[in-house]
């Protein structure tokens, strides 16, 4: 079969692609023209204005439309607590909480998040006023090098909320019963956050303590 270059979508195809694509199409307000066709170092990239609430503060940015939410946080807002481990959705170091759900911020463009509420590690707590999950990580030594840690903590906070919200996981046995906290559930749900230092056993103890305290 000859390779197809046919990328023309019908309107129905676009609708079928679902909410994420719709957001992507709706969000950017393009403000600058430009091209990548070698017009020289002065030409501007395509940028768009995007506004979002990050850790309670309103942010108004004009970004290259290729900028990921991760790079918007790290390079434009200088919120470097969120880490880049792979930039490919393979490690979880970039996990942040967007509108109450955790996502890999490297896998999503910033301009897709117009009006979103974003919580990063900096928004959970600060030295001297730690979030209970941050404090539990310190107490249980749930880290070593610390590079996966912000992602682990954001994930852990969101995981407990997911269980509370009765969202099932791959290992939830009975989908009709209420989701509940268990070792297997937590390990499964946390498995998108790699810790090469291997602090898993301690991370689990930290999460368990916070979950116990919350119950």
């Amino acid at each position: 079969m000859a390779p197809s270059n046919d990328w023309k979508f019908t309107r129905r195809d676009v609708l079928k692609m679902g909410a994420m694509s719709v957001t992507a199409l709706a969000a950017p307000r393009l403000v600058a023209g430009g091209s990548e066709s070698g017009l020289g170092a002065t030409s501007k990239p395509v940028t768009a204005k995007v506004g979002m609430e990050v850790n309670g503060a309103q942010q108004a940015l004009e970004l290259d439309t290729r900028t990921t939410l991760l790079d918007a946080l790290r390079e434009h807002m200088h919120l470097t607590g969120t880490k880049k481990g792979c930039d490919h959705g393979q490690c979880g170091a970039c996990t942040v909480i967007v509108d109450g759900r955790r996502i890999n911020s490297c896998l999503t463009l910033a301009v897709m998040h117009e009006g979103a509420k974003v919580t990063t590690i900096e928004g959970l707590g600060r030295p001297g006023s730690l979030h209970p999950m941050q404090a539990a990580f310190v107490k249980h030594d749930g880290y070593q090098c610390g590079y996966c840690t912000p992602g682990q903590i954001c994930s852990a906070v969101a995981v407990l909320d997911e269980i509370k919200a009765d969202i099932p996981s791959h290992v939830t046995g009975d989908l009709t019963a209420k989701a509940s906290f268990s070792r297997t559930e937590v390990r499964e749900r946390m498995s998108g956050n790699i810790c090469r230092c291997g602090a898993y056993s301690n991370i689990h103890d930290a999460i368990e303590e916070v979950a116990g305290g919350a119950a």
């Binding site: 430009g34 070698g38 017009l39 170092a41 002065t42 030409s43 501007k44 990239p45 290259d64 290729r66 900028t67 790079d71 790290r74 390079e75 200088h78 919120l79 470097t80 607590g81 880490k83 880049k84 481990g85 792979c86 930039d87 490919h88 393979q90 170091a93 990063t120 590690i121 900096e122 707590g125 600060r126 030295p127 001297g128 730690l130 941050q134 404090a135 310190v138 107490k139 030594d141 880290y143 070593q144 090098c145 610390g146 590079y147 840690t149 912000p150 390990r187 499964e188 946390m190 498995s191 998108g192 956050n193 790699i194 810790c195 090469r196 230092c197 291997g198 898993y200 056993s201 689990h204």
Partner: protein, 731 residues
Amino acid sequence: MKFDTPATTNPIDRLKVVGKPVDRIDGPLKTTGTAPYAYERHDVAPDHAYGYVVGSSIAKGRIVAIDTSKARRAPGVLAVVTAQNAGKLGKGNFNTARLLGGPDIEHYHQAVAVVVAETFEQARSAAQLVHVDYARAKGTFDLASAKGSATKPKDGKPDTAVGDFDKAFAASAVTLDATYTTPDQSHAMMEPHATIAAWEGDRLTLWTANQMVDWSRGDVAKTLGIPKENVRLVSPYIGGGFGGKLFVRADAIMAALGARAAGRPVAVALQRPLMMNNTTHRPATIQRIRIGTSKEGKIDAIAHESWSGDLPGGGPETAVSQTRLLYAGPNRMTAMRLAVLDLPEGNAMRAPGEAPGMMALEIAIDEIAEKVGMDPVEFRVLNDTQVDPENPKRPFSQRRFVECMRTGAKKFGWERRAARPGSVREGRWLKGLGVASAFRNNLVMKSAARVRLERSGRLVVETDMTDIGTGSYTIIGQTAAEMLGLPLDRVDVRLGDSSFPVSAGSGGQWGGNSSTAGVYAACVKLREAIAQKLGVDANTAVFDGGDVVANDRRVPLTKAVAGGDIVAEDGMEYGDLDERYQQSTFGAHFVEVRVDAATGEIRIDRMLAVCAAGRILNPKSARSQVIGAMTMGVGAALMEELVVDKRLGFFVNHDLALYEVPVHADIPHQEVVFLDETDPISSPMKAKGVGELGICGVAAAVANAVYNATGVRVRDYPVTLDKFLDKLPPV
């Protein structure tokens, strides 16, 4: 200060702060995202540009032409640096391959260009426009087929022999002759190699992720051809290294060259998909082990040979080193052979030598014990030695290996292990228990520090030591606090800056003991200066609770600094105690697995490590070192393998999706026991390394547990189900 006689009683023995499982002092920074890693220094390089590295797409050959004109014209591009315009570059003492390739290419993904632009997106986009024409040369990529061409390495001690191995082996009542393989492995630390470089005239500052600040400062200078004094390296937080950040890598050199070309500070992080072929890895090995014993299981003859490969000028993976020391036996030989391979550079990864060596040796011990008909714990106990078996006049400084085995066996419920493999079935699961020894040498390294008692009463410690997750900040703080009789919260620890005194750095599990010994030496000097100021005798004064106690009087330390800060600087050097005594660390790993009788899926249910590693300076962070190493050992046992494309010569699975490492779901609760031990021959801290001990033997304990569960012996790592599924007992 020189350490050349065993330590006697010293202020560390008070153990008011040292030895306590205190929380890490850098914990609040790490858990709030406020610890600054290399790529995150907007504070010091606010207007930096971004570099994106282009890697070679051939493994060996030459660049015929490189066209950067399109990339240069792309939006936002400030500079494109290749070997053509980089100027003359040297090669670091610790590098085997050059960090910027061209025209000759030495390995796949060797850097061939860095594209610098205003933004990351622009640099990434323009990097795709660099066009390189290569002339591919024939390379050698397969260790198994290159094994015959392997030669005796020139450096080090490739071969050892004592007694007459061949004769003794031939005469042994029970023998084993087996070959094992371990694959290439990747450090895969979570923080990519990253650097921000800034020039001020001819002086270069690198904010970088590097385990060995002074080595790397020298190698940056050598590579760029500038004086070492003109280079400053800053590396206060490092997102994991495991040996992968021991040396200068392309990120640092590309950032420096990019910054020089662009006239601006430049940040470069190696892209994740580039890391595994661009940087170093743990080389694959083929290991042949022969063991001959008496009917009762006493080793008469033991031989360990290992083959590995590396680029021209590289070295062998020293997989036989533990076999020279771990078990008794009068007739023994070891040998290492090195083949030339054109794969990326092989180099140190967590416990180089012992980690892959123990993967093989400890399966072999399990096999020979079974042949003898002995429990593998008892077999190891029977073959213990208290002296260097190749040089019996040389004792171990401490060797509580048997106690590790016995303690672990008892705690783990080893007596419940069924000797007959494949015989325990619980529902769909076959269950098994496995054991292996843990062994890793203890190295001591010269290390210095500067300590300053400030008028405020705070104590500041500065050393270029690094914390790669090992807990250096905390144990150095604990050491200084103990020496000056202060609570830990009155100590500030500053690390990882080449403007501080040169330390041991983080490698070979020497960092903890060596760097704290350096701080000890500086603190002894500070105590003398304080005592002199207060007019008391430094040798009899007790530093306690923020006071100096002498002649039945208590004087606050702050009194000594009323007129100004007192600074002291010193380091620890070592005599020949490590030659007179063999210094090693010991342990025992126990693992319980279950294997799905139908699908062969392996799950680990329990893990225990018992360690004898001298004084444990902080049981909390030391335990983390060990569980982290156990986790990496699980990876080595069950999943980690860089798959070689033997045609084109590169590691195929070069990202975190395809190079599998353990995740939460793979790891059970892990237990660690430290034997209460001090080793006064090691240093005044009486401590030894522990971060690498934890990985040595783990993989074999897992493999032995899988064998005990299934009755199928796998000798080629990783132990994946395709290697035993067809041999499982009938369901």
